[in-house]
Every structure is written in structure tokens, then in C-alpha cells.
Amino acid sequence: MSTQLRRISEGNYGVARLTPAPEHPGTFLGMPKFTKAVKDELKLPVQRKNMRNAMTTIRTKRATRVAESPDWEDLRQAAFEIKNRVERHLDHYLLQAEKSLTERGVQVHWARDGAEANQIVAEIAKSKGVDEVVKIKSITTQETDLNEYLEEQGIAAWETDLAELIVQLGHDRPSHIVVPAIHRNRAEVREIFLREMKNYGRPCPEDVSSNPPDLADAARLHLREKFLRAKVAVSGANFILADTGSLVIVESEGNGRMCLTLPDTLISIVGIEKLLPTYDDLEVFLKLLPRSATGERMNPYNSVWSGVTPGDGPQEQHVILMDNGRTNVLADPVGREVLRCIRCASCINVCPVYERAGGHAYGSVYPGPIGITLTPQLRGMQDPVDRAMPYACSLCGACNEVCPVKIPFTDIIIHVRNKVVSAEKADRFPKDPEVLGEMALMKTAAWVLGDYKHFESIMYGSRGVGRVLHHKAIGPLPVPVAERWLKYRDVQAPPTQTFRDWWKQNRTESER
């Protein structure tokens, strides 16, 4: 009954692969920047409808559950303080966590960046002689593009979360950090399962309906053989408790529990900021996270484990503490506030830009408000994709209100925009023609507004135009940039007299 690992070319751009090939490389660099990419995303009416339905539902659920909690604001304040404590004393808590984990039989590794973390995972998997691993949904491993690295190394990484399975089999990329397949509807999911499952394991029943319970059942059967034969699992973690050396995973489906208990070896890649000082602090976050993320009083399963438990679960455990740009974020006293993030996605769910654009346009595994504040700081502001990100925002501030750890998103977005401009100024010749145009415009404006004489001479110029046009409105004109504006709007002709002239004529010397 059990299906074997095979190399498949179908749907994989002609390359024989162990796992389905994603559409874009995980780093997203080289993709069009948000302002360009969003145009294609907005042309997908099915996706926009899916997103609108889903986001409306999840916002309502969260609001209901938050309203049930009378001490919500106290909890947010506590979470704010606890996570600040961690980030401001990160070296202290990391060393404490390393000590506690080691005492519990966990092998602790440190990784400067994603590449180093990926290598450590591959080395451990190879030392176990396996050609496949099962994975719990982990955005951290998407950040490092672990699956593609393992594929290159001849190791198949199987996503076991239902949404991640839909994304993986669909040759797709996640579009949300909690519900990654939110851009797909049931009919699309059915099509993906029927087309792809048979290539990578137990086939989807041919007569499957597009009802979510049937689709979930197909996924259950497809994945069960993978769980039962897996020797190595890879996870992230929601929290590491520094004092007890415990890892915490918050999930819904039980795929996490499968990965945490059935294999012999467990490898967890964890960002260095995912610490809580003590076990006691968990009470605050177990109250905040489920209500913020999925709008439930509590999600179906939480696992807390403290290293190796004899006779229960993986007897060999590795934790990789990964930096990958987090210390860059920490170095900025304004920007570092995003390191409090617990990845609940409530900011994404209220974001009007995200709801319309979807998650793919951003060019990061982190979309929405958290994405546009975190990603450019993590990766630096060299690539046009990263530079465009903080502008995917109308500064409405809805995200500030819902964030369970009180991240002041709009303040940070403005701060990051500032840093983008500084980075652009530092380039002597910007590669992006729009940036070049904007810089020229700003320089001109600075000249005009810097001296009243300059301003006056420009006013006289406009008066000249006014006299030529003689009260005739300006209609469509083939002028670059202005063309797009004038296509839809008439602009009144400039006045034939400037205000300064009028003032001089109508006021005596003493009145001026």
C-alpha cells in the first residue's frame, strides 16, 4: 500500500524532482516590486473574492473572541513588556535557553544566516541516512527556503499542514502566515489534489468532492503514510521557554503532534527572538495568540516539550538558533519593536491593502503590515523589492490597534520609508527609473521652495502659461507622467495673476 519516493518531471518545468517545484524561488528577489506585482494580482477576480470572504470571516471571529476577554488590554501590555524584556536582553536569555536545552538532552546549534541553518538540517538528515523529512508549518524555514535546499541535496521535505500541502502540491507560494492557502477556494484545492497527489504519494480518491471535509480526509490519508514512515521531522517553534528549555508549538490539525512524536529525530529551526524568559510567561501568550490568530478561545492542540523524554517522542533533538538578519533589526531602536511579533497575523487580517493585493505581491514570506516592517529590515534595503515594501500601506493604522504585542506598525513603516530614501540617496545612480524621476522631482521642488525668489520666478512662469491658455482648461496631453492624470481629469488653466501680484495691487504698504 505504501508508495515509494519517485522523481517526477510533470508540472516541474521539465526537471525530475522529489517534491513539487514552486513557482518562484523563496527569496523572491528579482521579482517585480510591489507596485508592479500588485497590478497582476489585482487582475485575479477569483483570488480577490476568496480573500475578501476569508478576511471578513477571520476579522469577525477575532473581534468576537477578543470582546469575550475583559482583561485583553492588560494581556497586551504584559506581552509587550515580556517581549521587550527578551529583545533588550537577548544574549542573556539565549545563553540561558541554550543551557536549559542542553541539560534536557537537546543539541543546540547556532546559525548566522539561513544558508547555515539549512546546511545544519541537511547534515543531520544525511547522518541519519534518510532521503525524506516531514515538516510542521514553519515560516522560518520558508524564510530560509529550506525545502528547495533539501531538494538540491536529494532529500524530500514533505509539508504536512493542510494549507502548506495545498501550496506545495499546487507549485505555489504561501500567501498568508497562518492560513497560507487562503487565496485558493475549494474547487481549486480539489483540482490540485487530483492532479498532484498521485505523483508524490497516496493518490487522492478520483470521486472526491470539493467539500472541505472530503478534501481534508484525502489529505489525512495522503499524509498518514508519510507520518508513519518518517524518521526525521523538521519544525519551527512558537516559543522557547528559557528557564525550562521547553519548546512550544501551537497548531490545529495534529500534524504538528505527529511530527513531534512519531519520528526518531526532531530538528527545530527557531529565530533567536522567539524566546520567553520563563515558563510562567506562557500563560499570557496562550491567552493572546489563539484569539488573535484564528479567532478561537484556544486552538485544538498545543505541545510543550522539554528536550528528550525517555520512552516518549524523538530521542534525538536538535535546536538551531538562527539570526538571519534579526540582529540588524535589533540594532535599530525604532525598528526593533517588530521583534516582539508572535506571528499571529491579526495585522495582516485587518490590512485593507493586503485584503485586495493578496500575499504574493509583496515579495516576501511575510506579507501585510508585519511583512513590510520586518522584511526590509531583515534583508537590508538593497533590492527594489525590499525598497518598495514599506509603501504597500495607506497608514490607516488598523494594524496598530489589533496587534497583541502592541507593535506601532505605522511609526515603523514611516521610519523604514525614511531608511529606504537614505539608501536611495546613497546610490549615486539609482537603477530604478521611477526612483530617478522622483529624486529629480524632489530636487527641483527643494530648489523652488528653498528661496522666495526661485518660487516667484516659477510663479511668473505659470502666469505666462495662464495667459497663453486664457482660462481654457487643460485636457489630455501626451506628456510623460502627467498623461495618466490628465487622461481622467481636466485641470483649470493657471491664473493670469499670481497671488503676490494681487496682494501688491490690493494692499497699501502699511497693510502688507
Binding site: E81, H89, D91, T160, L162, R257, R297, G307, D312, L330
Partner: protein, 218 residues
């Protein structure tokens, strides 16, 4: 410099603006830990919230527990085999056997494949949380290792009224000793579920699809 030293050096470089080195002094936390919620009927609230997750909840007197466990197994559709942890109440085990079900005691441990073929599991519990309808297992001998309450498709769970607390912080404190002793915890709120397709909640993906909770009353 190895990766650890380099990451630590970067952190210290990044936080030179923070001069107070004692985390507790630098960043006080105003929260009062371990608090509960005032509620009239803790057990009733627990039952209501667990039922909200589409799980079945019944109440039984201590003396009736063996019968209640068998009834629970039948109600969830367990027809042939049941796995039980080593420390499960012997009277319950006897009752299950008398009802004609095959009982596998997890000693020696069943393989993953054997667990997959087993219809149901019966466990006790460590704590119940009324506000969230959560059952916490600390995997003592009457609950068994984590895989037991995961792989079989039906879970019958017995919890005593004195184990039920009002809110999450109290529950965290109740199982603190277990965590300090190195034992894992599993928090269960209803059966396995997913909302990954169009955010519509579907019960039962990988964990037990049927959760049957028996509240043991004094």
C-alpha cells in the same frame, strides 16, 4: 569566530544603547501571574466550552465511571480495539474487556503501525480549563506517552471536577511541576480541526476525529 560567538557579538553590538543589564530592573512586567476568572459554575462552563468544539461531554459519578468509559467507546464507534496507558484505572480496563473490546496496554510500547490500526484510546487528564474548554495532559502514567492520544481516531478522556480550573494561568501553574520534571504537555481543545480551506472549520484531520469527555463527579 564560530556562529554562536558571532551571533552573540552582533546582539551585544546591537544593544549597546541598553545600559541597565538586569532584565528585571530594565523592563518590569506589571502582570499578575496565575490569576483566575470569577465564574459561578466552573464545571458547567468547562462543559459548555468543550461542547462548543463539537466534542461530546457527559458527567458520571465515580462509581459509574467503568460503564461511562465503555459507553463512550461505543458512542464514538470503537468496535474492536482500544489502547490504554499503563496507569489507567484497572476497573475501567476490566469493564472495557468485559464489553468485548480488545485492550492493548502500552507496555511494551505499541509500534506506530499498531497504534494506527487501533480504534480508540482511553486516558485520564491533568487539568481542565473552563474559559477555553481545554484539557491538559501532562502524560503521567494514567495518560501515557503523547502518541497514544494522537494516532487512534477516537479519544475518550476522563477528567475529575477537582481538576477543572477557571482560566489558562491557573492551568499553567497546576502543571508547572510536570514541566520542571521534564515531562511534556499536550493541550487539547476539541478534536483535531482545520480551517485551511476557505476558513471553514473542518473537524478531524490528523489527530483523533472524535473526542469524548467524561467529567467524573464526586
Amino acid at each position: 569566530m564560530d556562529a554562536k560567538q558571532e551571533v552573540l557579538a552582533r546582539i551585544r553590538q546591537a544593544t549597546t544603547d541598553i545600559t541597565e543589564k538586569d532584565p528585571l530592573v530594565d523592563t518590569p512586567v506589571t502582570w499578575t501571574y496565575g490569576g483566575g476568572i470569577e465564574m459561578d459554575d466552573v464545571v458547567g462552563t468547562f462543559q459548555e466550552k468543550v461542547e462548543d468544539y463539537q466534542a461530546t461531554v457527559v458527567r458520571a459519578a465515580h462509581a459509574d465511571l467503568p460503564t461511562a468509559v465503555v459507553d463512550g467507546l461505543k458512542a464514538t464507534g470503537a468496535a474492536e480495539s482500544v489502547v490504554v496507558p499503563v496507569g489507567l484505572d484497572k476497573d475501567w480496563v476490566k469493564a472495557i474487556e468485559s464489553a468485548g473490546l480488545t485492550v492493548h496496554v502500552d507496555d511494551p510500547q505499541l509500534s506506530n503501525a499498531q497504534l494506527d490500526k487501533t480504534d480508540a484510546v482511553v486516558t485520564a487528564a491533568a487539568v481542565g480549563v473552563a474559559d477555553t474548554g481545554t484539557i491538559v495532559l501532562d502524560h503521567e502514567d494514567d495518560q501515557g506517552r503523547r502518541a497514544l492520544s494522537l494516532v487512534p481516531d477516537r479519544h475518550v478522556c476522563v477528567i475529575r471536577t477537582d481538576q477543572i480550573v477557571s482560566d489558562v494561568p491557573e492551568a499553567v501553574q497546576r502543571v508547572k511541576q510536570a514541566v520542571h520534571a521534564g515531562r511534556p504537555l499536550t493541550w487539547i481543545s476539541g478534536g483535531s480541526a482545520t480551517s485551511d480551506i476557505e476558513l471553514s472549520r473542518v473537524d478531524g484531520v490528523h489527530g483523533p476525529r472524535k473526542l469524548y469527555v467524561i467529567i467524573a463527579e464526586d
